[in-house]
């Protein structure tokens, strides 16, 4: 666990940054609630993977990056995108398959990306983004860019070959990559205790001579400070491995009937909701008032409604565009 001291008031984070972190957590929550609302009414096509309950990990981690650092993301990627600072309007438009979306409506929920801003994309394949993160780290090293790649993946990915190959390669080449395992407890229905031979997931990294730390993934300040340190270490000396312990409150995807876990377990994790927890911290430690934090939540909900309005008026991509962008 990160040094306890770091969880307390830390001068390096000003009020503006703290408020931005809360704002992004609330944006993620509201975005996901809106996504769930669309699905519950059968208003969108396909499937989606909600990040509700895990907001502290995406926001704490991306808050520790420089603007020019990279991320790679997962099928459960909405939180990472918002953390990295994506434009909500274009993100919502992509979710709805509209032409003003980041991917012109061709990627959808699982492929939102903004390469120019360093977001190398969500990924439909479990573990699929990990080698790509290593490649981005290689670019940074070869071009002496001093950029770090923050590579998100879940506990499900830690048993993929691509994960092991990538950790090894990044370590051998000392690439500036922070591997961040979001242990949200379940890979679809399989509990990490049943999928993974080691109970301490940081042991994965030790096999590749990589420093590893774990953190309470529902504590945004702990995530921020742990990732911050890892990012600076990666920038100087090569890869670091982090495990963020959190929980997927919603089902794996819209098809999930939650047969593999108990209501009690879900309720117990709901009690550890990272958003009220961070609000409480801001009130107690940083002179935020209840009205201040409530206003952040309210503004976030409004921003999501505005994004919906933008996305709904955006046209679907034209049939003529169907063959565009296969090749450069």
């Amino acid at each position: 666990m990160a040094d306890k001291k770091k969880q307390h008031k830390n001068e390096e984070l000003g009020r503006e940054k703290l408020e931005d972190m809360l704002r992004k957590m609330q944006l993620i929550r509201s975005f996901e609630e809106k996504v769930a609302w669309f699905f519950s009414r059968g208003m969108v096509h396909g499937t989606t993977h909600l990040y509700i309950g895990e907001e502290a990990t995406a926001v704490g981690a991306t808050a520790a990056l420089r603007d020019d650092d990279y991320i790679t993301s997962t099928h459960r990627g909405h939180g990472h995108c918002i953390g990295k600072g994506i434009e909500l309007n274009r993100m919502m438009a992509e979710f709805l398959g509209k032409s003003d979306g980041y991917c012109k409506g061709k990627g959808g929920s699982m492929h939102i990306a903004d390469v120019r801003s360093g977001n190398l994309g969500a990924n439909g394949v479990v573990g699929g983004g990990i080698p790509i993160a290593v490649g981005a780290g290689l670019t940074s090293k070869m071009k002496k860019q001093d950029r770090v790649v923050l590579c998100f993946f879940g506990d499900g990915a830690n048993n993929q070959g691509s994960f092991h190959e990538s950790l090894n390669l990044a370590s051998v080449w000392k690439l500036p990559v922070v591997f961040l395992l979001e242990n949200n407890t379940y890979a679809m229905s399989l509990n990490v205790a049943k999928s993974t031979a080691v109970s301490d997931l940081t042991e994965r990294a030790r096999a590749y001579s990589m420093d590893a730390h774990q953190m309470d993934g529902n504590n945004v300040m702990e995530v921020y400070h742990t990732v911050r340190e890892a990012v600076e270490q990666a920038r100087e000396n090569g890869p670091v491995f982090l495990v963020s312990h959190t929980y997927r409150i919603m089902g794996h995807s819209k098809s999930d009937a939650n047969r593999y876990r108990t209501r009690e377990e879900i309720e117990a994790w709901k009690a550890k909701d990272p958003i009220p927890r961070f609000e409480q911290y801001l009130i107690e430690e940083h002179d935020f008032s209840r009205e201040d934090v409530d206003a952040v939540g309210e503004n976030a909900r409004n921003a999501i409604e505005e994004a919906v309005a933008y996305a709904e008026q955006s046209p679907f991509p034209s049939i003529e565009s169907i063959e565009e962008d296969v090749y450069a």
């Binding site: 990279y70 409506g105 990627g107 390469v115 993160a133 490649g135 190959e165």
Partner: protein, 331 residues
Amino acid sequence: MREITYAEAIREAMSEEMRQNDDVFLMGEDVGVYGGAFGVSLGMVDEFGSERVRDMPISEAAIIGSGVGAAATGMRPIVEIQFSDFLTIGMDQLVNQGAKMRYMFGGNATVPLVVRAPEGSGTGAAAQHSQSLEAWFAHIPGLKVAVPSTPEDAKGMLKSAIRDDNPVVFFEQKLLYRKKGPVPEKEYTIPLGKARIHRDGGDLSLITYGRMLPLCLDIAKELSDEHGIEVEVVDPRTIRPLDRETLISSVKKTGRALIVHEAVTMGGFGGEIAAVLADSEAFPYLDAPIRRVGGLDVPIPYCPELEKQVVPTHDSVRSAVLELLDWEYGS
């Protein structure tokens, strides 16, 4: 014109592009001091250093995937897969990631990656080191697939592949690596997607690529010398994109088409070529069915006598040509 080997031509292409562009680099298993399993990159590490000629662990998913990631962020990697059979181990990164990234992201990514992969039988390496899997990759929108058959084409096409902003799978022909051919000394490139007519003729279009080209050229010469039969030998050179126009116009002229490749006939790229021809304005010109000669429907066997028979042979190709020339409907 000077003559160099197919392997030397590939090395020249890589070295020239690496001298011209710092973003170009080579990585793969044993590509450094060892020079690659077939010696293609021999000596390159001495000129470019181990940062730009990077030896990699045996991790094909990470090899291809890190190539995709490096390409998407501004480098122009050339990745060597030691045997094309091992592309299967890195398939997700090539097919699900690299090939689709641009489309999936709405044009918001560019993946200038070259994956070099030696293919083909004839080396006694048996079933897991001898396949010709090019058709698999031709099936994937987003990839380009090159199968050069001469040293000149290998060099010019590889330079184009390196400069191309799309992922290109570059199938090198193991049995051609040591074969010499004329290669210009001055700078040149050969565009991807342009077929080459190696020999003009009016009697039959012999469409072939890769290692089968020299065999087909021998047969064409033989038939001309012995019987005055003029076979047109056409090499598409890249199978994606495919130069349909050149193939179609050749068959319109000759009225007969035989497609020859080493890959297993069933599901092989010859089927696509046959379909393109049958579904084109060449159809009414056909005087005989379109025929394919490809590999037998078995994995590549070890025993040298069997290995020779599993792929198209001089006899099987020559007899197919003669049968098509003698074809009469209703006969």
